[in-house]
């Protein structure tokens, strides 16, 4: 057990998987000598050499495309997009090939690769560095889409992602990279992809979130408990696709009231699918409209105003009260 930041926990996952399996390698812009602009891949080049910790040219489509080729050849590449906002340069490779190669080749070439990328706002970054567009990946057949909510889940899910026979998009919250620590076991730990979990039990309201927003949601839940005397249940999705609706279905059937929280833009955002599933599975249990507390349908403002864009504890509480009082 060690008390690790998310950066350290992800680094641990990479290091251990590289030690265990010489098919695993990392590649991307500045992931080698520099150890990544957030130091996530720090030291890997010393331990594994520049052939397995590869500094690439600035070429996202090339990075993803090469990773696809490596996976076809039998390796297990973990490539990095320096920021999720630049992953669109490679989207045609992700949608056109990573997601399709197994299917196109009738199972001959699976693509066991992971595309890691920092996502989300809150760190005073420049334009394009604060987005949260998980829907684009979650809506693409053939991909898995994972967003851990802390150091321990990040480490365990990344190990699972690396071992997964299919391509996994792995979002890492920049906001959480160094802002919290968790005990992470030294020994191997995995978490199944496609399983959400209840992180706070309650019976009055179901709060669904993931990634950095989970923590604000949990804070809001505490506030509701203290101030309003209601006990919210909080579900951490962990995987966005395949979306696990079992946990929140159970919860919604119990509470009848729901708020969904994410920092992605509102329209056509992740909450839509969650609300659709609730409609399909728990319609008759609902006592009030589902509330969504989300980013707005605007570009993330430059950092002087970015906190206004992001759901904050007050805004979540406000949304929750609507769901509770409707």
């Amino acid at each position: 057990m060690a008390d690790l930041t998310m950066v350290e926990a992800i680094n641990l996952a990479l290091r251990q998987e590289m030690e265990n399996d010489d098919r695993v390698l990392v590649l991307g812009e500045d992931v080698g000598v520099d150890g990544g602009v957030f130091r996530v891949t720090d030291g890997l080049i010393d331990e594994f050499g520049e052939e397995r910790s590869i500094d690439t040219p600035v070429a996202e489509a090339g990075i993803v495309g090469m990773s696809i080729g490596m996976a076809i050849y039998g390796l297990r590449p973990v490539c990095e997009m320096q920021f999720s906002g630049f992953s669109y340069f490679a989207f045609h490779q992700v949608e056109g090939h990573a997601a399709r190669m197994r299917w196109r080749s009738r199972g001959r070439y699976g693509i066991p690769m992971v595309i890691r990328m920092p996502y989300g706002g809150g760190v005073h970054a420049l334009e394009h560095h604060s987005e949260s567009r998980e829907v684009i990946y979650a809506h693409t057949p053939g991909l898995k889409m994972v967003i851990p909510s802390g150091p321990r889940s990040a480490r365990a899910l990344l190990v699972s992602a690396i071992r997964d026979p299919d391509p996994v998009i792995f979002f890492e919250s920049k906001l959480m990279y160094r802002s919290l620590r968790e005990e992470v076991p030294d020994d191997e730990e995995t978490l199944p992809i496609g399983e959400s979990r209840v992180v706070r039990e309650g019976s009055d309201l179901t709060m669904i979130s993931y990634g950095a927003m989970l923590h604000r949601t949990l804070e809001a839940a505490e506030k509701l408990s203290e101030d309003d005397g209601v006990e919210p249940e909080v579900v951490d999705l962990l995987t966005i696709s395949p979306l696990d609706d079992r946990k929140f279905t159970d919860s919604v059937r119990k509470t009848g009231r729901v708020v969904v929280v994410h920092e992605a833009p509102r329209s056509f955002g992740p909450a839509g699918e969650i609300m659709a599933r609730i409609n399909e599975r728990s319609f008759y249990y609902l006592e009030a409209p589902v509330e969504r507390v989300t980013g707005f349908d605007v570009h993330v403002p430059y950092f002087a105003r970015e906190q206004a864009y992001l759901p904050d504890v007050d805004r979540i509480v406000y949304g929750a009260r609507k769901a509770l009082n409707a």
């Binding site: 090339g62 080729g69 076809i72 050849y73 390796l75 299917w103 009738r106």
Partner: protein, 367 residues
């Protein structure tokens, strides 16, 4: 030295051995054993006839659209023939001749063309990638495979195909650059067939040759007469040797021509003249090579005729076998397969719901 010329570090060469008049430059003639020569010829001829058959079947509505290979057989067979079985071949979407050379069963190609996903399967022992339709997108995969080869210290090389149009895409650039930066064992074979659908080569790029694009990457580039199987073979052999010796990538521009339509949805009458096509028909790689084999006493007129008959029958056999298979295929439930290694619960649910719907519909219909 304040204002001085800078040498780019590589020359760009042009290579032609057997010219369109059938004239052979015997100093450059490669030594290829007779069996291989004849096999190359047969594959070219088969591909041409298969192409013609596909076109006919398509016009009859029996199959869907496809991208004919006619005219480009030498560029494909002359390069693919240099590869060992263990080497990798990464095609675009027009490489039926190369695929046949590599051992892809024509039944598979036909099934694919008839709209069955089953046709996309690659035989287990074949190191080829499936067809890649998004232009130039396959090149970066080829570089990744080549990186893997280097990482594993294997003797393999990768050969990848693309068109003149593909050289305008960003993915071409990223692939070429990364292949050079990582000095990977790969050969880039550009089939410059003069057209990207309706856009002629001159509107695609202002450079005199496509081969000289190699200079941007510090990579050797060579332009060959792509309808001259011998030149293609020699240039590929040099490039493959270079790659296998750890000396990195090469770009080969095969100057050739698409004699047929772009795909069966295309009408070349909109954009190019019959005269141009006629000019290129005279440069047809197949008669030229037959002539060469004839001069070497390897192939007589009679033998060609026999071969034509044999191929015709073979193609009929392919059709019959494919038809038989098609009868067995088409279960819509197949569409849920192969999306993931293991079907996730939500897909199982969608599949089961669809099956339930089909069952009820059938019952209603029957009932």
């Amino acid at each position: 030295m304040p204002r001085k010329k800078f040498e780019p570090g590589h020359d760009v060469e042009h290579l032609s051995i057997l010219d369109e008049k059938g004239k052979l430059d015997s100093r450059l003639e490669p030594e290829i054993d007779d069996e291989l020569l004849l096999k190359m010829h047969r594959t070219m001829l088969f591909s041409r006839r298969f192409d013609e058959a596909l076109l006919k079947w398509q016009r009859q509505g029996r199959i869907g659209t496809f991208a004919p290979v006619s005219g480009q057989e030498a560029a494909q067979v002359g390069s693919a023939a240099v590869l060992e079985e263990e080497d990798w071949m990464v095609p675009a979407f027009r490489e039926f001749a190369a695929a046949v050379w590599r051992g892809t069963p024509p039944v598979g190609l036909l099934l694919y063309t008839a709209g069955y996903n089953e046709g996309g399967a690659i035989p287990e022992e074949q190191h080829d990638l499936p067809i890649a339709i998004p232009v130039a997108s396959q090149l970066v995969h080829a570089v990744g495979i080549a990186y893997g080869i280097k990482y594993r210290e294997r003797e393999q090389v990768v050969l990848t195909y693309f068109g003149d149009g593909a050289t305008s895409e960003g993915d071409f650039h990223e692939a070429m650059n990364m292949a050079a930066v990582f000095s990977t064992p790969i050969v880039f074979v550009c089939q410059n067939n003069q057209w990207a659908i309706s856009v002629p080569r001159e509107k695609q790029a202002r450079s005199r040759t496509l081969a000289q694009r190699a200079l941007a990457y510090g990579m050797p580039g060579i332009q060959v007469d792509g309808n001259d199987l011998l030149a293609v073979y020699v240039a590929t052999q040099e490039a493959v040797e270079r790659a296998r010796a750890g000396k990195g990538p090469t770009l080969i521009e095969c100057v050739t021509y698409r004699l047929s339509v772009h795909t069966t949805a295309d009408d070349p009458g909109k954009y190019r003249s019959e005269k141009e096509v006629k000019k290129w028909e005279k440069r047809d790689p197949i008669p030229r090579f037959q002539n060469y084999l004839g001069n070497k006493n390897l192939l007589s007129k009679d033998e060609i005729e026999k071969l034509e008959k044999e191929i015709k029958e073979e193609i009929q056999g392919v059709w019959h076998e494919t038809e038989k298979q098609m009868e067995r295929l088409g279960d819509p439930m197949d569409m849920f397969e192969y999306v993931f290694h293991e079907m996730p619960p939500y897909l199982e649910e969608q599949r089961d719901a669809y099956a339930e719907f089909l069952k009820e519909r059938k019952e209603n219909h029957d009932g």
